[in-house]
């Protein structure tokens, strides 16, 4: 039996500004090791909100989230940050990198923060991840000087640097043209093949079709679980 990596129970989320709205209704879900789960649904259905809860970035919610057997709900801020650093890799829609650092440094930062390996080993590993993304020749370029597709690949490399238990991506291709989108698809396929556990929010059906499971969201609820 495969291991459960993520389990969420009865998640409820409210926004209080400008008016109180109930954006997530009693969401329960779980993700097994090696699964590739897509979350789809209309704009405003609450996909991003859910992903931020699962990734521990948002802590204002009701319900519980367990990752890798740890109850992350209610962890103190410090421990939460540490947990996120070690077990979660995140890819955003707007390929957020630190523009004053090189591509290589961007990839290295989470590992340097974790501090489990020495600088040399981390650099070597970051270089390897960049090579996988076919970006090693840009390693020493400032990340702000790279194209959108290149930046998104650096962001994926960064998400992978600490060998996280789960990778979460919020519309990783949402801001890219079709050629770059195809490229990112291939990369995610490769990640799945390597046995990574992935949750991706996407609007792209072709992308979702490759996943092991699609969660369809509407009005803050999961309606299909197939």
């Amino acid at each position: 039996m495969s291991q459960q990596v993520l389990k969420a129970e009865k998640l409820n989320k409210y926004f209080h500004e400008p008016d109180t709205i109930h954006v997530l209704h009693d969401i329960s879900m779980s993700v097994e090791e090696g699964e590739f789960v897509s979350i789809m649904g209309k704009s405003g259905s609450g996909k991003s909100t859910l992903l931020y809860l699962l990734s521990t970035l948002d802590t204002q919610y009701e319900g519980t989230v367990d990752i890798n057997g740890t109850r992350v709900t209610g962890l103190p801020e410090n421990a939460m940050a540490r947990f996120r650093n070690e077990y979660i890799g995140f890819v955003f829609q707007f390929h957020f990198l630190l523009p004053e650092f090189t591509a290589l440094e961007n990839v290295m930062l989470p590992a340097l923060k974790l501090g489990k390996r020495d600088h040399g080993a981390i650099e070597q590993q970051a270089m390897e991840k960049l090579r996988k993304m076919d970006l090693h020749q840009y390693a020493h370029k400032l990340s702000g000087k790279l194209s959108g597709g290149q930046q998104q690949r650096v962001a994926i490399a960064r998400a992978l640097i600490n060998d996280p238990r789960i990778i979460m991506a919020d519309e990783p291709t949402g801001n890219l043209d079709s050629a770059n989108t195809a490229n990112i698809f291939d990369i995610f396929n490769g990640l799945v093949q390597d046995g990574n556990t992935i949750i991706v929010v996407t609007h792209d059906h072709d992308f979702a079709r490759k996943s092991t499971r699609i969660l369809e969201m509407a009005d803050g609820r999961i309606c299909t679980n197939g």
Partner: protein
Amino acid sequence: MMLPVNWKIMKVHLLSRKRQTIVAMLGVTFGIGMFILMMSFMKGMNDFFEDIMLSVTPDIRIYNDYKTDYSSSVTGQYLGARPKNWIIVRHPRPRQINLNLKNAPGIIEDLRKQNEIQVVSPLVSAQVLFNYGPVQLSALLDGVDIREEDRLFGLSDKMASGRPENLLTSDNGILLGYKLAKKLNVRTGDLVTATAPSGIQLRFRVVGLYKFGIATMDEFKAYVSLTDMQQLLGKSRDYITDIRLKLKDMKQAAVKAPALAKRYGYKADDWETVNASIKAGNLIRDTFTYVLNFTLLLIAGFGIYNIMNMVILGKLKDIAILKAEGFARKDIVQIFLSQSLIIGLIGSVAGLLLGFLLSYSLSKVPWPEDEYIVIKRFPVNFDTLYYMVGLIFGLLTTGIAGLLPALKASRVDPVAILRG
């Protein structure tokens, strides 16, 4: 403890906006530099005045402060007072006042036995007139035991010509302030005539000139031996008007003086009381300097506060990313607070250097010619204490100025930023 990675991020942040960083540093540098310059100069001034004051003020002076006691009067005898008559005397005058210390030799002997007293120098002093052709110049003539006086004020170091001991070896010798000598147009070896208030005249031979650097000493004062002075005043050999003391620890003077006054029944003034106005001047200068420098540093602090706030506004995305990567709030505080502290540290150290250079240059600037104070260059005190205080001030202001923005940065909600 700061993680190397936080250190690295801080460094990149600082270097990526060199201009802003340098401007912020210059604010601190200027503030601290001025602080050092002003403190050094003010302290130099204070020291200078205090030195001068101390060079002519004994730690304690015991003297007979005459009391006008009119309880008994000769009026009654004169006018044949009867019980029913009122006799009112306006502006009474005392018949006779002796300004001397009655049992001076006994007191001196007693004082010399006391351990904490280093020097006991008796004095007979009076205002005399020196004849210069038809003109008479007034000066204070001090009859002293010149060896004690030398130990009291370090007279030997202040001699422009001759030696203090010459008073002992020569008959009717006199030491003159160099300015007084100039006015009288005499030199060592020449004769001068002094006239006492009583009209008695004595001729003295100039055996030395001294230069204290203040007019009261150099222009209006002269020294002769005790016996000569007693002779000039027509008094006996134990006629002493003042006894001046030097203590082993001059800080004890304020405590010791009242005790001595009580013991001997005469007035005893300590140097601090006598020079209270100089102390007050010092205090005013110190306060003024601190207030001014506090203001300068406050302005530098506001500058840093402003700059750091702007930096953080421009770095909201970076903060959100760092948090998403697993940097904790305390890491964010470290990253941004350390930027302020580095600005503060480098700015302060540069400020100390600037302050040193400025005060060093000032110490080489000639002081404008002055009749009353002899001082060649601007007085500057290079006390390291002010450098420590400056450094601590600099770090403290930049630390406080940087803390608020850093805390604000650590409270940035990453989700709000990352949603785009």
